[in-house]
Structures are given as structure tokens and as C-alpha cells.
Amino acid sequence: MEAQPDPENARAERTLPDPDTAREWLSTMTLIRRFEERAGEMYARAKVGGFLHLSIGEEAAIVGAARALRETDYLIATYRSHGHALARGTPPERVMAELFGRVDGCCKGRGGSMHMFDSQRRFMGGYGIVGGNLPIAAGIALSSDYRESDEVTLCVFGDGASNQGTFGETLNLAALWKLPVVFMVTNNQFGMGTSLKRHSAVTDLQRKGESLGVPGTRCDGMNVLDTQSVVGEAVERVRSERRPMLVEAITYRFRGHSMADPEEYRSKEEVTHWRERDPIPAFGALLEREGVVDAAERARIDKGAIARVDAAVEFAESSPFPEPGSLYDDVYVLDRQARGRYW
């Protein structure tokens, strides 16, 4: 079994947030789950093309992280980031329309699944290059510092990205220049089809930035309470101390790397074991035990999520494809230097 044991510093007894907040977390995780499931179905029906990387199983790591941030903080993620956009508040209509390649998608159909973006909500992408977002995150943090704000940038990437050259370069620079970045490693145990112990000499990823000057900590990425708490602590430390930190979130994706992945690199037993730690029923059951919701409310939340996803699909279906004449739009900012289309 390749799965990691429970985090040694898992704090089981965390305080729940207030009831409205707790319900919101459950709703958002449920929305992400139902959205991702539907996106998979739409892909199988050829409504969505290219590559589709789903976050099913990772919802606690996503919502816990997003809810550790202020609205004025920045969140930047990877090619597996529909959930991050949704958690930041991007309407599911706009994300689904982007997947369908329609003109009302959040990126006008130019980016697709791997390149979501929502500038208004400070969701800064959406990147197809593994590790490509780390330097950009450091640049955003530099900008925050330069403008003398107390903004923090949360940079999400996977265990696989911790081996990319940008990991070493960016953590060194962030530590050297004391940049306000929280580097969050979403450790779902695999870089595509290669397990953690087959791709990283050091598997204790919370330690991987120490030699570069970035201290790390770990959270249970299947537990939204633990994730929000640990990431939240890191964000506030970074906000006040103005230097980077790393948080490793132990999580698991229940489906393949992408829709094209037959998952020959892991056993069905392993997946089943992790599905028993599904973050959404776990949190729902906790809230029910604590009297924040009852069974009927949980069912209503789920139905509500499905209804929102239905509406998103309807919106996406009825949004037009971009006109061929728009192919060259936005290659450049047209102004004094780039004045039109050139040969």
C-alpha cells in the first residue's frame, strides 16, 4: 500500500467554525464534487475536449486552503484547478462554459480546463506547465510587498512539481527576498502515474523546502477543518512575518490523473481505502454529530449542488462558440506598439 499514514501531527480536536461558515464549507466541497463528476460525464460525451484533470477526493484540500485566505489575497494553482476557481467564487456557469470552449467561459474559451483564470476574484490561474506557477506566485508576492500591502499569495502545486527546477529556484528566492508566499504541496501521492516514493528521494515533503530556507508543516488534506486551520496559521504567519512557508497537504485523487488515465499504477484496494476517508461525508457526518446540520439538510445541500451544476451545463450548452474572426483577439494589448495583426 503506497498511501501515507495519518499525519503525525494531525490535530483531531479542532474547533468548528460558526454554523453558517461550516455549512458553506460543506456546500462548496459538495459543489466541487458534483461539478467535477458532471465535467467527467460531459467529457465522456465529447462536450469537453483536450485533457480534463479532476479534483474528486481533494475537495477538503481545496476548500480548506481557499477559506484560509482573505478576498484580497491571491490564489494560484495548477492545471487541476476547476475546484480552486469555484472555491474562490467563480460561477460554475463560467467554468463549465470554459470547459465547453464557449465564448462565455471565464477565459472566452481560450484556455480550457488547464487554464482557468478569474482576475476579479484573484484566482490567478490555471497553468498547464508543472511547476510553471511557482515563479509567478513569487512575482505576485513581490508585487504585494513592493506596494506595501499585507497581501499573501497561496501557491498550490502537486508532489510531482516539487521536483521541477522552479521549486528549488523559487523557494530560494522567496526565502532570500522574504516574499509572502505560502507554498502548498497538494500531495496526492502521485506525479501522474509515478508514485511519490518512485519520484522523490525525500518523501517527507513538508521538509523539502528547509534546505532552501522555507520551513514547512503538514495537514490532513482529507479533513477540511485541519487543512483550513493549518493553512490559515501559515497564511497569518506569512502575513505578519513577511517570509515564505510551505504546507504539505496529504490527500488523494479518487480518479485518474486525467480522464485519459487507466490507472494501471495503483490497486483498486488502495483507492477503496482512501475513499473511506472521503472528505465530504466525513465533514457532513461531523456537522450532523455536532448538530449543525441534520440528514435532511445534508440531502438538500447535495441537491442544491446538483441543481447548480445542471444550470451550469445548461448555460454552457447555450453559450455560443467563439467566432472564427476572433482568433487573433487578445494576442496583444493593442496600443501604440502593437497596432494590429501582422504577417
Binding site: 490567478m124 515563479p135 513569487a138 505576485i140 513581490l142 504585494s144 532570500l176 506598439q337 501582422y342
Partner: protein, 330 residues
């Protein structure tokens, strides 16, 4: 007007733009305390401080990527790469990120980033330190590409680049840094992209010279008239994206013959692209195929006699022009 060295013209541009807009900042290896590997940034750290003139570790891809992120969030960074050779390490951030972000995110984010770097051979620096890669940047939609050959253009184009909201690859030349030229005074004297300069008028043949080769072409033109009675029209495109093709086509309409001179490799080079464009747009104006003079299709050798024949000098340009003209003119 004042007479300035190319490097000092660049220094002035950076100083003026740093003073004019507090969002401008510089990042690069040894640009601060050391004063810049080629002294382009000399004195700027002392004047503007270490918040705005930042010495970086040796991490080209990440330095450029940080420039991208900072540019996306309100700043106007100017990143210096020590030479174009090291830009190869940063190609992911230059192409997949800087050049693509505005398009792929549906226009939601701009990248007002300038990446400056010198290029060129001639100092026996050998294969990994002598590249001319403007063709690789010319290839990428989303980038603007400048190749100034004079001090005035260096200053005016750099100021334009910094004020523009597109990512700009600003290619200088190691052998041009010490060359003097007349530079108009005034902090708002900009040179716009997409306007080629006719360095010399003539009606017998058009010679387009890129970067340092614009000066080589001018000298070749002097030789052509003195020894062969050939009046060459020399054009310096100044920017490759956008390219002022109209000026080149107007010249070809007049001369009916064209030679393109570049220091980089021939295959897929600037000349290859320009020859295709001229062929497509002005085929009927041509009395001969467009001829390319380029760097040799080899890694740049160290040994001096080999290096000397591995990139173009005046005699090669003269010979090429005469070949296109089909012999010596009276």
C-alpha cells in the same frame, strides 16, 4: 542631441523610466552592486535603491517568471538576462507564460514585462556564449521583439518597451555597447515599434541588416558604391515584432533585389521568414531571389580564424549583393 555610447543610452532610458514611474523595477544577475555585467545598469542601484534595482541569484527561468507575476499584478518589471544564451533556460516562462497569458486567460491579465539581453559573437566566447537567437523570439506570437542597432534606437525603443503593456524581448548586442551615436535629448523621445529605418538610400539593391548587421550592411554599402558603383539601400528593421514590412516592400519595389543579413543561423532565421514574406507579397517586383547572408550553420567555434568565418562581415555582404546583381557593375 548628445553623443552617447549605446550602453549609456540604455542606462539613460532605464534611469528616466525608473524616475518617471514608480512601478518600474529592475531584476537581474549582478545588475546592482556589480553595476551590470556590461555596465548598462551602472549607478542605478545607488540612485534608486535595492528595492527597485534587485540583484538576483542565478535562476533565469524563475527570475523571468517572477517578472511575469509582478507584471500581472501592477508592476512594470525590466528583467536583465546576462546574455541571450541564458534565455534558453527561461524559455518556458517566456513562451508558455509571458507570451501566452494575455491570450489564454481571455484578456484578463496583462504582462507589461521587458526582458533585456545582449547577444552576439566575436569575442571567442565559444559555442554556449555566442548565440544570436532573435529568430526564436520572432517565432512566438504574443511577444514583441526589438533589435536596436544604434544608441538612439536603444534608448527610444527601451522607453517604448517599458511603457507598453505587452511582453517585450529587448535584444541588445555585446559588440554595440561601446558604439557611439547621436541621441536626441528629452525624456519623452520615444521610438515606436514597427517602424524600420532607412539608413542609406539607393536604387540598385535593398540590404536588410538585423541588429549589429545593420552597421555591417552600412559599411558594405559604402564598399559597394566605392568599388563597384552599386547604390545599395540599407534598411534597419529595428523591431522584428512588429515588423515594418511595408518599408522593406517599398524598397524592393524600387530596387527589385534584396539581401538579408543576420548573425543567427540560417534555417528558420529572420532572413528565411523575410524572404518568404517578400516572395509572397512582392514576387513581381523581384528580379532575383532574395539572398540570405547569415551566421554559419554550426555551433560557434572558439578558435579565432574559425569564429571569424562563422558570422558575416562586410566582404560577405558585398559578395552577396554582387551575386544578386549578377556581376560587377560599371
Amino acid at each position: 542631441m548628445s553623443e552617447l555610447r549605446y550602453r549609456d543610452a540604455l542606462n539613460q532610458a532605464l534611469r528616466e523610466e525608473l524616475a518617471r514611474d514608480e512601478r518600474v523595477l529592475l531584476m537581474g544577475e549582478d545588475i546592482g552592486v556589480f553595476g551590470g555585467a556590461f555596465k548598462v545598469t551602472a549607478g542605478l542601484l545607488e540612485e534608486f535603491g535595492e528595492g527597485r534595482v534587485r540583484d538576483t541569484p542565478i535562476s533565469e527561468n524563475t527570475i523571468v517568471g517572477m517578472g511575469v507575476g509582478a507584471a500581472m499584478t501592477g508592476l512594470r518589471p525590466v528583467v536583465e538576462l546576462m546574455t541571450v544564451n541564458f534565455a534558453l533556460l527561461a524559455f518556458d516562462q517566456i513562451v508558455n507564460h509571458a507570451a501566452h497569458i494575455h491570450y489564454m486567460f481571455g484578456g484578463q491579465a496583462r504582462v507589461p514585462l521587458v526582458v533585456r539581453m545582449p547577444q552576439g559573437a566575436g569575442h571567442q566566447l565559444g559555442p554556449t556564449h555566442s548565440h544570436c537567437l532573435e529568430a526564436m523570439f520572432l517565432h512566438v506570437p504574443g511577444l514583441l521583439v526589438a533589435t536596436p542597432a544604434t544608441a538612439a534606437d536603444a534608448k527610444g525603443l527601451l522607453k517604448s518597451a517599458i511603457r507598453d503593456d505587452n511582453p517585450v524581448i529587448f535584444i541588445e548586442h555585446e559588440s554595440l555597447y561601446g558604439v557611439r551615436g547621436e541621441v536626441p535629448e528629452g525624456e519623452d523621445r520615444l521610438v515606436d515599434f514597427g517602424h524600420a529605418a532607412v539608413r542609406r538610400e539607393g536604387s540598385d539593391i535593398t540590404i536588410v541588416g538585423v541588429s549589429r548587421m545593420a552597421l555591417t550592411a552600412e559599411r558594405a554599402a559604402e564598399g559597394l558604391v566605392a568599388e563597384h558603383g552599386v547604390q545599395a539601400e540599407v534598411i534597419d528593421p529595428r523591431t522584428l515584432r512588429p515588423l515594418d514590412l511595408d518599408t522593406i516592400l517599398a524598397s524592393v519595389a524600387k530596387t527589385n533585389r534584396c539581401v538579408v543579413v543576420e548573425e543567427g543561423w540560417p534555417h528558420g532565421g529572420v532572413g528565411a521568414n523575410l524572404a518568404a514574406l517578400i516572395c509572397e507579397q512582392a514576387f513581381d517586383d523581384l528580379d532575383a531571389p532574395v539572398k540570405r547572408v547569415s551566421g554559419a550553420d554550426v555551433p560557434m567555434p572558439y578558435s579565432k580564424p574559425l569564429e571569424d568565418i562563422a558570422y558575416p562581415h562586410e566582404p560577405q555582404v558585398v559578395r552577396a549583393a554582387l551575386e544578386v546583381l549578377g556581376g560587377v557593375r560599371a
